[in-house]
Symmetry: C2
């Protein structure tokens, strides 16, 4: 989660919503791909940290399934990213802050709870929750304050 948080800080420094993600080989512990939100920079509404990490990890591994891998992300994934995590067959999702407004695992569409969700990863939320949430609060306070 430390590395995912560092990615979130990179997003913050680029004036992107500070969310970071890391995909790790669950056996070796090796980081396969790291990413942060790039929706503004790429002018792409799908450029969420999780989606970018999955795309990069699949490219690096040369396959579309990441069965022996886990994802660490600083914020509860949205429905788009939750479904992408399911498609990628990731083993576990570790996330930081809960997202009652945009989350898609414990909130909103609760993608993994749908009976039609073919692969449901194990989910561990609330890791370094306060730290991850503080960075997001700081970002939105700064934005509202007109500094961005």
């Amino acid at each position: 989660m430390k590395h995912a948080y560092e990615e979130a800080e990179k997003a913050y420094s680029k004036e992107e919503v500070p969310v970071g993600a890391v995909i790790v080989d669950c056996h070796s512990g090796e980081i396969i791909a790291s990413s942060h939100n790039e929706m503004i920079g790429k002018k792409d509404p799908t450029a969420h940290a999780e989606l970018l990490a999955i795309q990069r990890a699949c490219l690096i591994r040369g396959k579309s399934r990441l069965e022996e891998c886990d994802i660490y992300v600083t914020l509860e994934p949205c429905p788009m990213c939750a479904q992408a995590i399911s498609f990628a067959r990731l083993r576990r999702v570790y996330f930081g802050a809960y997202d009652s407004k945009g989350g898609g695992i414990d909130h909103g569409a609760k993608v993994f709870n749908a009976p039609s969700c073919h692969h449901t990863p194990e989910v561990i939320g609330g890791i370094e929750e306060q730290k991850c949430a503080r960075l997001l609060v700081k970002f939105f306070e700064k934005k509202r304050g007109g500094s961005l």
Copy 2:
């Protein structure tokens, strides 16, 4: 939908699940981006026709919102693509076949029904439904028959 179907046929010819999508300017009727499933070719589980069409249309338009655009897709979008359609602020979704197993609009997670879904496009399903469904049935029959 004719163009989206032609894209689905391209996917079929590449041995990809035959789904095609087209994004159209709702005022001029101009096609901005066309795409088909490329999950196998790209080894990327997120390379669904809708996501690729959104990414291309945003790149072409140079912005992350496609407010004055509609998407035509031959199959009911999954939860990942439904959420991406919402993020892209597309005005309308026209889709062909309903997808009781993997759909995320009328089935499964029903992404647009979540109170936390910030933008809900208008949805018109069942356009050329039989034609779109037949291509998918043909694909899966061929696959089961071991011809692929």
